[in-house]
């Protein structure tokens, strides 16, 4: 059971790493699970999985880009809902009034989306700075 789980964790590793070291890691599991216990080896494999995908494969950049986009959309949408024309308007009275409100809404969405972009860039810059500092500390310790 534990061996199957370990093999599954290995299969989830990036292809290059798995092809290069997967069989050896499984062999070590066979050898070491008796003395070290399979629980510790499973935890190590899970950590390795996160490390290979997050730190080594570069796919974290996609996750960060998606998070940034999500922040922008959320701030743009929330800002528009809370502070835009929708929050203030009553029943529509004429086509002209509706057109003016649509233009206002567009401007509001634009303003809030730009604010979201600025905020996500600031957050990303702070996070990258802290992340790099942590990595440099880890390498040099």
């Amino acid at each position: 059971m534990n061996r199957t789980l370990y093999r599954c964790l290995l299969r989830l590793h990036p292809g290059g790493f798995r092809r290069q070291f997967g069989e050896e890691m499984l062999w070590i599991f066979d050898e070491a699970s008796v003395t070290q216990g399979s629980g510790a080896l499973l935890v190590d494999a899970a950590r390795s999985l996160a490390r290979q995908w997050v730190l080594r494969s570069g796919s974290w950049k996609v996750a960060v880009a998606l998070a940034g986009a999500l922040i922008q959309v959320t701030i743009g949408g929330l800002g528009h809902l809370l502070f835009g024309p929708l929050a203030e308007r009553g029943p529509l009275r004429s086509a002209n009034a509706a057109a003016r409100i649509d233009l206002d809404a567009l401007i509001q969405i634009g303003i809030w989306t730009v604010s979201g972009i600025v905020l996500s860039v600031v957050l990303l810059a702070v996070w990258v700075k802290k992340f790099n500092a942590r990595r440099i500390r880890a390498v040099h310790l």
């Binding site: 290069q20 070291f21 069989e23 890691m25 070590i28």
Partner: protein, 118 residues
């Protein structure tokens, strides 16, 4: 041409232990794990994930290489690793650096320095 070892320093604990375990002889992955545990008297244990993550990086940097020679009748899944001349130079530089650190620490903490006696 002289290799600039300083750009690899200081080494992370896992890297130091792996290079040290390969200094005496070529070893397979499990052998490295066992040797690291022995060197540290069981205080520092490497898991296979940490080991192969470091080995991959060390091989990319040219400090460790896969050994072609392997004992007859070995499990084919076992691959042996060896220290390259650059890896040996980096390890020697790190040990010198650590000696300086220990010397400085003993001076500051007013502990007896055993370096001149050896």
């Amino acid at each position: 041409m002289e290799t600039d070892y300083a750009r690899f320093l200081p080494l992370a604990p896992a890297t130091l232990h792996i290079l040290l375990s390969l200094a005496g002889e070529d070893r397979h992955g499990y052998g490295i794990m066992q040797e690291v545990a022995r060197q540290s008297e069981g205080k520092y244990k490497l898991g296979p994930g940490t080991l192969y993550d470091n080995l991959q990086r060390l091989m990319d940097q040219g400090l460790v290489d896969e050994a072609k020679r392997r004992p007859a009748g070995e499990d084919p899944r076992r691959r042996y690793y060896r220290l390259t001349p650059v890896g040996r130079g980096v390890l020697a530089s790190e040990i010198s650096r650590l000696e300086e650190v220990v010397h400085e620490a003993k001076l500051r903490l007013r502990l007896p320095d055993t370096r001149s006696a050896t």
